[in-house]
């Protein structure tokens, strides 16, 4: 090939200009073929372009383990609700909300069978030291464990989302203040902080929930703040600001809705962690009252029962916890894969 051609610069060539092409485009010759094809094209375009969430849902559904996890969660929730009748009673009358009873025995009733009996047909999971039916206790126990998980996470979100939003949106000293508090609380391991809170406020359902919410909000605040810092730079927020929209409206209408999705995903996953921590508190004897049919509390003192060979008292409540947390993790994994098929999103742990 010719070296010389390459060495000729464009100026030698003169200025090349095309005439006629755009005129032809403008005239848009009345060509049947083009029109027909274009029509076909329009019809194609009408089949809706699948949205991000529809796409994600389709991928989620095709993930067998994730669907299995969802089914387990649903099943455990149904079992927890229908394990024993739910009724509100006042002095005069009783309202039965849910009359079904899947559990064969009252979980709190003692000596429905011999104490510390192994699994049998009458007591599939055996009985505990007071002769209470473990099968019934495990079924009913879901009520405590699951509701503690959901309520504590919800409360943590109620605290964490506003604080994270305010810190991220306004920045400055508010941000400094909130983030320093977050840094300080982060120095205390989750369980240690929960133990410390229980040490101060004592045991009980709402105290446990409060302890778990108090330790949980920091994660959401931090995550949301990071998301908001990136959303805030986007044009629609600048546009709203230039138009004089009040900050409160901008945060509520434009910023939070666009930044909150990862926080919600994270919160869903955290239900598992919270259930584990609540169970650990129960195991340490720092959870609900020791006789409560809560999965963790049922494991308190199980070290002694293990040494005595009563394995069933440990095995079944533990399996219930495992099953639930595993199901949450499977679902969480499915959600992550569905939203982020290439694994592109960076772990947002960097400070």
């Amino acid at each position: 090939m010719t070296r010389e051609t390459r060495d000729r610069s464009t100026t030698d060539r003169g200025r090349i200009r095309i005439e006629g092409f755009d005129e032809a485009v403008a005239a848009d010759r009345d060509d049947d073929a083009v029109d027909r094809w274009a029509d076909g094209r329009t019809n194609d375009a009408e089949t809706p372009s699948r949205g991000r969430f529809e796409d994600a849902w389709r991928r989620f559904r095709s993930n067998r383990t994730a669907v299995l996890g969802l089914a387990i969660i649903a099943a455990l929730s149904v079992v927890a609700i229908f394990a024993r009748p739910i009724a509100f009673s006042t002095a005069e009358y009783t309202i039965t909300i849910q009359p079904f009873s899947l559990a064969p025995y009252d979980p709190a009733e003692m000596y429905v069978g011999p104490p510390n009996a192994g699994p049998s047909a009458a007591h599939p999971f055996g009985t505990d030291w007071a002769g209470r039916d473990l099968f019934s206790r495990v079924l009913v126990g879901g009520r405590f464990s699951l509701s503690i998980g959901v309520v504590a996470v919800a409360l943590a979100l109620v605290v964490g989302i506003p604080l994270g939003a305010i810190a991220g949106y306004f920045g400055g000293w508010i941000d400094e203040l909130v983030m320093r508090v977050v840094d300080i609380l982060y120095a205390f391991p989750f369980l240690v902080l929960a133990i410390a809170v229980v040490a101060v406020v004592g045991r009980g359902y709402w105290n446990i929930v409060a302890a778990l919410a108090l330790t949980g909000w920091i994660g959401y605040a931090r995550l949301l703040r990071g998301e908001i810092l990136s959303v805030k730079e986007r044009e629609y927020v600048t546009a709203a600001r230039v138009l004089g929209t009040p900050d409160r409206t901008i945060i509520a209408r434009h910023v939070v809705p666009n930044a909150v999705a990862p926080v919600v995903v994270q919160a869903t996953l955290n239900v598992g962690t919270v259930v584990l921590t609540a169970a650990a508190l129960g195991f340490l004897g720092l959870g609900l009252e020791p006789s409560t049919a809560e999965w963790g509390s049922m494991l308190a003192n199980s070290r002694d029962s293990i040494a005595a060979g009563h394995w069933h008292r440990t095995a079944f409540p533990g399996l219930a916890i495992f099953l639930f947390v595993m199901a949450i993790n499977l679902v969480g994994d499915g959600i992550n894969d569905a939203l982020d098929p290439q694994g592109e999103t960076a772990e947002r742990r960097r400070r």
């Binding site: 090939m1 200009r17 095309i18 485009v25 010759r29 060509d31």
Partner: protein, 355 residues
């Protein structure tokens, strides 16, 4: 025998929405020391073709047909270790975005020296010395000291110089430049292109220059391959292409190059968007966007023909200088013909086509 011969290359990607034929039967050759440009819109298959030359098509992509012969040897039949000794050594590549092309956690010197050590039997010290020479050669000042610096400590233009040094470290016979200046400022772009030109002249390297910018290509290439929707639509020497474009798509590309002082109100554009490669248009793939399309365009697929004679010609068999285009116009199938002029101002000489 040409240095590189690509014959009927077909590359597919398997996506959730269907099979994408990113490259659909592309053929071309590059002679020793020749500068060939691949031009087209993004998504036309230029980058995929380049990666195929290095055997770097990864899941979910696959080369499903064709041959790539480098010095007569089919790359697609090479073993992994043969491929490795080819990459970086005989065929090297300069990537689009130098910032992401460099590994952030290793010093730039190490990243160049590593390539030398992989292909040459050298001591660490020799590799280091050669690296410093290369860095100096591509215009990194104080190369001895900057050897240990990390990529983020360099500007975009400097980073691209480093990538170029890396690509030329083993004096390859073929250098693939994939939009090497797209990510850079316009002022830096000219310097980088100049450097590239100097270096390939010095090393007598053949270049496959991938770009969407006809202006950049015009000054530094011998021949141009215009690619549309995974296929070659026109092939010509750079002069033929500019003074006498044959394919309506090429014409559209040239018409949409902005020019200072042009006495036009608005810049003409090619209407529509690049086609969906899962379900490409029937007939000529460009016809939905082509202002000259007639009914036969939607039904019959045009083949590459010699634009002068109208005889079918595959790029490998036709003379390298022949002007090929894939448009029904050149087999006489169009009734109204193509209606545009190439005006060269200064000479005021219109070279109208087939009115």
């Amino acid at each position: 025998m040409a240095l590189l011969e690509v014959e009927d290359l077909v590359v597919q990607f398997y996506t959730e929405d269907g099979v994408v034929r990113a490259v659909d039967g592309i053929s071309y050759e590059i002679e020793r020391g020749e500068h060939l440009a691949l031009v087209g819109e993004s998504g036309a298959g230029k980058t995929v073709t380049s990666l195929a030359l290095l055997g770097l098509i990864e899941d979910p992509g696959e080369i499903v047909g064709g041959e790539i012969r480098f010095r007569g040897r089919n790359i697609l039949e090479c073993s992994d270790s043969e491929l490795r000794s080819l990459r970086g050594n005989e065929i090297a590549m300069v990537f689009q975005d130098p910032e992401t092309a460099l590994n952030p956690v290793y010093s730039v010197g190490e990243q160049i020296a590593e390539a030398i050590r992989a292909h040459r039997d050298v001591t660490d010290e020799q590799a280091r010395r050669r690296t410093v020479e290369l860095l100096e050669r591509v215009g990194v000042s104080d190369a001895e000291h900057r050897y240990a610096d990390y990529p983020h400590e360099f500007s975009g233009g400097q980073q691209q110089r480093i990538v170029i040094a890396m690509a030329l470290s083993c004096e390859p016979d073929l250098l693939i430049c994939d939009e090497p200046t797209t990510a850079l400022d316009v002022t830096v772009e000219a310097q980088i292109l100049e450097l590239l030109e100097e270096l390939v002249e010095e090393f007598e390297t053949a270049i496959q220059f991938v770009s969407h910018d006809l202006g950049v290509v015009a000054e530094r290439c011998d021949r141009v391959l215009v690619v549309y929707a995974g296929q070659v639509v026109e092939r010509a020497s750079v002069d033929d292409l500019y003074y006498d474009p044959k394919h309506p798509y090429t014409v559209g590309l040239m018409a949409s190059i902005p020019r200072l002082g042009a006495d036009r109100d608005r810049l003409p554009t090619i209407p529509g968007a690049a086609p969906d490669l899962i379900d490409p248009p029937t007939g000529c793939r460009f016809h939905p966007r082509c202002p000259y399309a007639e009914s036969c365009c939607a039904t019959r697929e045009p083949s590459l023909v010699d634009a002068e004679t109208g005889t079918t010609a595959t790029p490998l068999e036709a003379a390298p200088t022949a002007h090929l285009a894939a448009c029904h116009e050149y087999t006489g199938a169009l009734e109204d013909g193509l209606d545009y002029d190439v005006v060269v101002s200064g000479e005021d000489e219109g070279r109208g086509e087939s009115e």
